[in-house]
Symmetry: C2
Subunit: 513 residues, 2 copies
């Protein structure tokens, strides 16, 4: 980075900080609203074929709902054929049930300027979810801690390109498994004012998450509005397990959003083909989403799809593959046709470090995410090593890429000012545009300004220390954490949250299951 760029970067950051501290409360757009068309690889006819096959899967094969008699009763009452834990669905039944599901809904943040709209043309970007490991160029790879967790919450808070604080930005492995959800939910509330996700690892932890949200938003408000969104994975193929069903019921009952996501590595957990996998994805998502509506009609629900493939040589999961992009694109169309918001995408990569492989695979998936019509993108920053590791440098690199997606999603402006006929007339053949009046009027907002890319000459780059993108990102996240100042949290709410957590934590012993 040249001195000038570094200075301007610093100026930009402190200006944003001032804006934030001045109470405006928002940095960047609260979410993306696409001004570009959806890109559909799947034709309507092809979508119909896949839908017919999903109907057959639902009616002939069915799904298993394991170790949850209540769910089986719910299905039976709704008219499904229940045979042990196997449930089969007459054609059309699930789509009828899903008529109560909203096609778009608001997830409220504790700062209303950061509320997000999930569905329609909107795209909400949330950070990586789930890795037990973290890594950075200084300390290398190690188990995540609650300090790392807070750091990623802070980085997501500071990025103008992430709309959401996410959920398990990394596993805080230094805390007991059965109590870490308190500290995770509290960190999202305390260190950010963007919307966040609740715990799904046990029904009682889901209840705890809801109670903490009630302390922040009020019981009545939580019952009437979505303030948390949760990740409910199917145990593909065609199984939902008791843990996920338990969490789903708690959240749906409380009117909080569930993302029902088939979690599929094609070739192992689904057929080795894109259209075969799509039939399964649709069957699993329709069943899981419909269940939320039986628990509470009208509860917000999102059709999810975490779909990639495996290497058929080694069995290793692969990410950012062309098949992954096609699956994402096809599932997006199927969700839209089902009238449900869609979750997919992310900065996927199997790479172990923030290198060319990681960037290529992530870019491949993010491009598909933006164009296909994804409404909620989990894992949009920080993901490394097939989701086993949250990377500080990758987080910065991904966030910059997400900034570019904001520009791409705006499409092409053909207003008179954008058409710039006056500039063309002023400059004419052989001239140059830097000094044109139109350029002077528009240059500040003209082009996306990357925080990481080095566009300088080779000589300047040598003089600046020959840093690659990962090393520049390393400087940036450290600078951001040093500069972090959190949003204010009402001291009464803070105290109430802490009292609740202390009380609950002391009511049962630590455990690592």
């Amino acid at each position: 980075m040249s001195d000038a760029a570094a200075t301007s970067g610093r100026r930009g950051r402190s200006a944003r900080r001032e804006r934030r501290q001045s109470g405006a409360g928002t940095v960047g757009a609260p979410y993306i609203t696409r001004n570009i068309p959806f890109y559909d690889v799947l034709s309507d006819e092809a979508a119909e074929i896949i839908e017919a096959n999903a109907d057959r899967v639902l009616a002939e094969i069915g799904l298993e709902f394991r170790e949850d008699p209540e769910v089986l009763s719910i299905w039976k009452a709704a008219g499904a054929e229940v045979d042990g834990e196997r449930v089969r669905f007459p054609k059309g039944m699930l789509r009828e049930i899903l008529k109560t599901a909203p096609s778009q809904f608001t997830q409220h943040a504790r700062n209303p300027a950061r509320n997000v709209e999930i569905g329609g043309k909107n795209l909400v970007l949330a950070p990586v979810y789930g890795p037990p490991f973290v890594t950075d160029l200084d300390q290398g790879r190690r188990y995540g801690t609650i300090e790392d967790f807070r750091n990623f919450v802070k980085l997501a808070y500071m990025s103008p390109w992430l709309h959401h604080s996410g959920g398990t930005v990394c596993e805080p492995v230094d805390l007991p498994v059965n109590k870490r959800h308190f500290d995770m939910v509290y960190s999202h509330i305390k260190y950010s004012d963007k919307p966040f996700m609740g715990s799904v690892t046990a029904p009682e932890r889901a209840e705890d998450s809801v109670k903490m949200a009630q302390i922040v938003f009020g019981e009545e408000f939580v019952d009437q509005n979505c303030v948390m969104i949760q990740l409910i994975n199917a145990n593909s193929p065609l199984v939902f397990d008791a843990t996920m069903l338990g969490a789903l019921k708690v959240y749906a009952r409380n009117n909080q959003a569930c993302i029902v996501s088939p979690f599929i590595l094609a070739g192992a957990m689904s057929p080795v083909t894109v259209s075969g996998t799509l039939s399964q994805v649709l069957a699993e998502a329709l069943a899981g989403c419909a269940l939320t509506q039986l628990v509470r009609p009208g509860a917000p629900v999102v059709f999810g799809a975490f779909v990639s493939s495996i290497s058929m040589q080694s069995g290793a999961p692969t990410f950012g593959s062309p098949e992954g992009s096609l699956l994402l694109n096809g599932a997006s169309k199927l969700a839209r046709r089902a009238g449900l918001p869609f979750r997919s995408g992310g900065s996927f990569t199997a790479s172990k470090l923030p290198d060319a492989q990681s960037a290529q695979e992530s870019a491949q998936t993010i491009a598909a995410t933006v164009q296909s019509g994804v409404n909620f993108c989990l894992h949009s920053a920080g993901w490394l090593e097939g989701g086993l590791c949250s990377s500080y440098e990758k987080f910065v690199l991904d966030a910059d890429q997400l900034g570019m997606m904001h520009v791409l999603a705006k499409g092409i402006d053909v207003s008179d000012e954008a058409l710039a006929m006056d500039a063309l007339q002023e400059v004419g053949p052989g001239g140059h545009f830097l000094g044109a009046a139109h350029t002077q009027r528009n240059f500040e907002s003209a082009f996306y300004r990357s925080s990481v890319a080095d566009n300088n000459s080779y000589e300047q780059w040598l003089a600046d220390g020959e840093l690659d993108a990962a090393r520049r990102a390393n400087k940036i996240w450290k600078e951001q954490l040093r500069a972090y100042t959190g949003p204010e949290l009402d001291p009464g709410i803070d105290e109430a949250l802490q009292a609740f957590m202390a009380d609950r934590k002391s009511s049962f012993p630590d455990s690592n299951v």
Copy 2:
């Protein structure tokens, strides 16, 4: 890479080598035919607005055709208003002239199995063009030589994902400027049998290129068929210079293809906006393309657009930007509406090394290239440092990415076999698909197999030496050059080419202009 993967890679390579040596003569598809829809960011209405503005630019501002009285006479005879070197075009004139231009044509290779179709739904991928420098991880950055040139020709020949041998894969700076075109054209003919590009740096060098093609293909065949394609850049804004006009006339007269390309860094050489730049691109391309039709009606011609932007802070060119993608996408639609094949795209980056920035920027542009409808993609592998440097490692990384694009462009198969209902029925809830009959039938061709990506576990990756993607690519290109065996060239043709070059080279002194 695991031992198994490495072995399978080696097996794959030697199998391909055997196929090639067995005379089948083709590896991979000779070009991509898209089975996915074009993705248009620009609506029809927006395209019409830009077309109307381009018409105004052509009629009111006009273009300059410098130091070429013959071209001015051609325009005058065709009905344009010629005022000194400024030429203005009445509305509709250029589109009328362009009616003789083919919307699709064949470029013949000396191996007919490698002929490419340029236009329509097709995409032809050609390597980087023009860098004076080359770089690799062993020797670092230095001026290119004819040995480097030959190496890149060989690498493009060996890649199943590059369809074209390209042109100036790097500048052979060790040869005199006024004679290096002989060795460049000869290298494409000798070391590859894929289609290639001729010299455009002076009209007599264009003539030499045509004569060498005539030795290979025969005079009559060259007159009736396209066997070379050439890059004719506009000197934007709104200027064509004598060098480019001279080369354009030679090639058009000989029925060889010209790619007429506005070369634009928006903000400096065009307005600071996407739609303003598109108006200019369209005006320049229509004028240059129409000129080929006045020289020889029916000569193959391609609407080109090399469009990126500059940093409005430092003035440095930027690549892989969201504005670049929008420009590419918009220009693609304008070319399609003009009925002309379209050239754009590439593995663009401003990065100085094959790092995350280079991969992210390249992936961004390549995704837009595949979806937007580009027919001829120059710079699709090897580009680094804003086009100043051809990188051996980047070439390998890019080629792998191009392989993925072949899969993406196939779209989603919904044949009965692809739908895999038998696998879904066989496996059922909670099973896994690895052993299913359908998987056994399809796994070999199921998923794209990257030659560079490391999908192994962290532990395996550590054991393999903790290589990043660039270091793995470094091994691959060296292995490929060691394994290279060239296509056969008829000894009579080879001798005739060498005699022609020796004769011509001795007829004028070396010069570096």
